[in-house]
């Protein structure tokens, strides 16, 4: 059986109502469509997770996939995260490409051992004889008024481990493209989905990624492309660096700052491991100022890594120290406090003011 072309996929599945290749989708629907396209393209792609079948996942990101692909390819698993990741690793040894859903950020930790000691290291330990192309989807970050363990941003804990790739889409287009690029990549990928942005709408052109993945070296190109940052807005005074849930906030801050006469460049980093330092350094060298905005606690975080790298490689271009805006060094507080705990427009603008004051 040959995989259907993307044209067929578009007409059969992605656009059942005869819609054009460019459509307006929510981020959640875009990821759903991306999963569908990947499953159509490659019969070795299988989905695993808790409640992803009949329920369609607690956020409905796998909605409808069980019906169309069956129980063998859309598997409701036992309630055991280490078991999900561990058994998927074994499936990958036989050429399968499991895409896993961890229900919430705060519940990934039972699988931390499998992810960091097995998944991340197996390609290295076997000197490349085994590849482990797992994708672990993690709905993450806050702003949904949830109870504890449902709003965390644990990406730095994984970024510290070599062997993993870590990405986070901020737009429906990236949700659609990057999930397919992650699945195509031979490396294990943690795919952090900003859950508060699942309902944000945007245009999705389904032809872009399809033409890339059809190339002979499509997997390499896909891996390289999902590792690149995107200049979301051009500016000249300050570079705001954000990813996932804080990209929209950074865009809002840029608009607000412009009213005060400050020109803000916004980078949607997209990839956390690796960071696209080429784009980052080019921007910071141009503006001379940088502010990192993420929801994760600031201490020991990805913002610190960015600030250190920028200081090391663009020191003489800087007019001010790189500042970080993020969560406090504490467990995630009760959700009635999350608007004060998380980066807000005021806090981002405050940091912009500070770097401008230097």
């Amino acid at each position: 059986m040959t995989a259907p072309t993307h044209e067929q996929v578009s007409s059969d599945r992605l656009a059942p109502e005869g819609l054009a290749p460019v459509r307006t989708l929510t981020l959640g629907a875009a990821i759903n469509a991306g999963l569908r396209a990947a499953m159509d393209r490659d019969p070795k792609v299988v989905l695993m997770g808790e409640d992803i079948g009949a329920l369609g996942g607690v956020f409905r990101v796998t909605d409808g996939l069980l019906k169309d692909f069956g129980e063998r390819r859309v598997m409701d698993t036992p309630l055991a995260e280490s078991g999900i990741v561990g058994t998927a690793i074994g499936m990958a040894f036989r050429g399968y490409r499991p895409v896993l859903e961890i229900q919430f950020d705060g519940f990934i930790f039972p699988a931390f051992d499998q992810i960091t000691t097995s998944l991340a290291k197996l390609h290295y330990r076997t000197k490349g004889k085994l590849t482990v192309p797992l994708v672990i989807r993690v709905p993450y970050a806050g702003h949904i008024g949830a109870i504890e363990h449902h709003s965390e941003s644990p990406e730095a804990l994984f970024a510290h481990t070599a062997g993993l790739r870590i990405v986070s889409p901020a737009t429906p287009q990236d949700g659609y493209d990057m999930i397919q690029q992650s699945i195509a990549s031979p490396d294990p990928v943690l795919f952090f989905e900003p859950k508060a942005r699942y309902w944000d709408k945007g245009e999705v052109d389904s032809t872009r990624v399809a033409s890339q993945l059809d190339l002979a070296d499509g997997a390499s190109k896909a891996t390289a492309e999902m590792s690149k940052a995107r200049v979301a807005r051009e500016g000249t005074d300050v570079t705001l660096m954000a990813y996932g849930p804080t990209v929209r906030l950074a865009m809002q801050a840029a608009v607000a700052a412009a009213e005060g006469g400050v020109s803000v460049e916004v980078l949607d980093l997209r990839s956390i491991s690796p960071f696209d330092y080429e784009t980052i350094l080019a921007s910071v060298k141009k503006t001379g100022r940088g502010v990192v905005v993420h929801e994760a606690p600031v201490a020991y975080g990805t913002g610190g890594e960015l600030a250190a790298h920028v200081a090391e490689h663009a020191f003489f271009h800087l007019h001010a120290p790189v500042l970080r805006v993020g969560g406090f060094h504490m467990p995630y507080p009760g959700s009635k406090f999350e608007h004060d705990y998380l980066p807000s427009l005021d806090r981002v603008l405050d940091a912009v003011d500070k770097v401008m004051a230097h």
Binding site: R72, T77, P78, A80, S82, G83, V85, G86, T87, A88, I89, G90, M91, A92, F93, R94, G95, Y96, P110, D113, Q114, T117, S118, K121, H123, Y124, R125, T126, K127, G128, K129, L130, T131, A162, G163, R165, S185, P186, D187, A219, S220, T223, A224, S227, S273, P274, Y277
Partner: protein, 376 residues
């Protein structure tokens, strides 16, 4: 050794006792009936070879040639008996002490020691031998094994009735591992997915210094009941019984009937690793008791008693074992680390800028040293 705890010897399947006498077993006896004296001499030879290799490795560690060694001394019957029950399509996941199983899977024995000399983390190609690399994180591989078994099923390699095609997974781990969450999750996933896998517990009675009584109050095989997995306890020092039980279990799994748990009660005659000191936590009386139950001795007694261990065969095997030791020693001593640059390979399958940057930095750092030495 009596009682109902995890060290109980009550109800162990046994076909050759420690005095070298055959024992009848209504259910499992037939699974050993096909064994000829040639087969038994083969098992004996495999165990001798495994022990010779193991003894040489321990010496090499003592001489400073290896960073560490995990001896398989005393567990040869559990490993050879089960390893020789595998067929080509079967796939084995070892923990890190299964040197005997490695021998049965055709692994170049000295090459195992490259890991313990600190040269690399694995040597053989798992797919070429259907033998996975060693896993040091206790129990982590049991989940990989279940996933692999599920995938074998999806690929149509289970329950087809074609003996050249049908296979199953066997996964080895120890008594300590049975306390790990991963092992318990592995049994849940295997049970609900009816995965073609045999969980082979080598209960060698110790997790480093801790007695198995710190892991369980009941025989480990009983744990399987709660998962709905059939299980059997076998005398792990009886190569014939281990073979019979494993043969039964693998056929069960290959046929598509689902997972099995085997607990082989054995005894780690040596230390956990060469860093360990067993005199701190066990008695010499205990060691003496198990030395009398040496897995190799009972086969020797049995075969010799029947005149089935000819002197020339024995001499040839002893010579082969000595030669394996010599080859191993020479190989290990000849190995030197390659260029440090190689440590940057295979961190990722696709290029990663951080690895590239580290590699480039290291290259220029090393180059700067060489320059200074040259000018000096």
């Amino acid at each position: 050794m009596a009682g109902i705890g995890p060290l109980s010897e009550e109800g162990l399947v046994r076909l050759l006792d420690h005095t070298g006498e055959r024992v009848a077993d209504e259910y499992f006896g037939p699974f050993a009936e096909h064994l000829t004296f040639d087969d038994l001499r083969g098992f004996w030879r495999d165990m001798i070879m495994t022990r010779a290799f193991d003894t040489e490795a321990t010496s090499l560690q003592r001489q400073g040639e290896l960073g560490l060694w995990v001896a398989s001394l005393g567990q040869e019957a559990a490993q050879i008996g089960s390893g020789r029950a595998l067929r080509d399509p079967d796939y084995a996941f070892p923990s890190y002490r299964e040197h005997g199983v490695a021998f049965t899977r055709g692994i170049d024995m000295p090459s195992i020691l490259r890991v313990f000399r600190g040269l690399e983390h694995s040597t053989w190609d798992p797919a070429a031998h259907n033998f996975h690399i060693y896993t040091l994180v206790i129990g982590a591989h049991t989940l990989h094994a279940v996933g692999y078994a599920q995938a074998m099923d999806w690929d149509g390699l289970v329950g087809s009735g074609d003996p050249d095609k049908d296979g199953a997974v066997i996964c080895y781990f120890g008594d300590g591992a049975t306390s790990q969450g991963d092992v318990n999750e592995a049994m849940v996933f295997a049970a609900v997915n009816n995965a073609p896998i045999v969980f082979f517990i080598q209960n060698n009675q110790f997790a480093i210094s801790e007695s198995v009584t710190r892991q369980s109050t009941v025989p480990l095989a009983q744990r399987a009941i709660g998962f709905g997995i059939p299980s059997v306890r076998v005398d792990g020092n009886d190569v014939v019984a281990v073979h019979a039980v494993t043969r039964w279990a693998m056929e069960h799994a290959r046929s598509g009937a689902g997972p099995v748990v085997i607990e082989a009660l054995t005894y780690r005659m040596g230390a956990h690793t060469t860093s360990d000191d067993p005199t701190r936590y066990r008695s010499s009386a205990d060691e003496d008791y198990w030395r009398e139950r040496d897995p190799i001795a009972r086969v020797e007694t049995y075969l010799r008693g029947l005149g089935e261990l000819p002197e020339d065969f024995e001499e040839a095997v002893r010579a082969d074992a000595k030669e394996l030791g010599r080859v191993t020693r020479e190989a290990v001593k000849s190995w030197q680390p390659g260029p440090t640059d190689t440590i940057f390979e295979h961190v990722y399958a696709e290029p990663h800028p951080l690895v590239d940057a580290d590699r480039a930095w290291f290259a220029q750092y090393e180059a700067s040293f060489t320059d200074k030495e040259v000018t000096r």
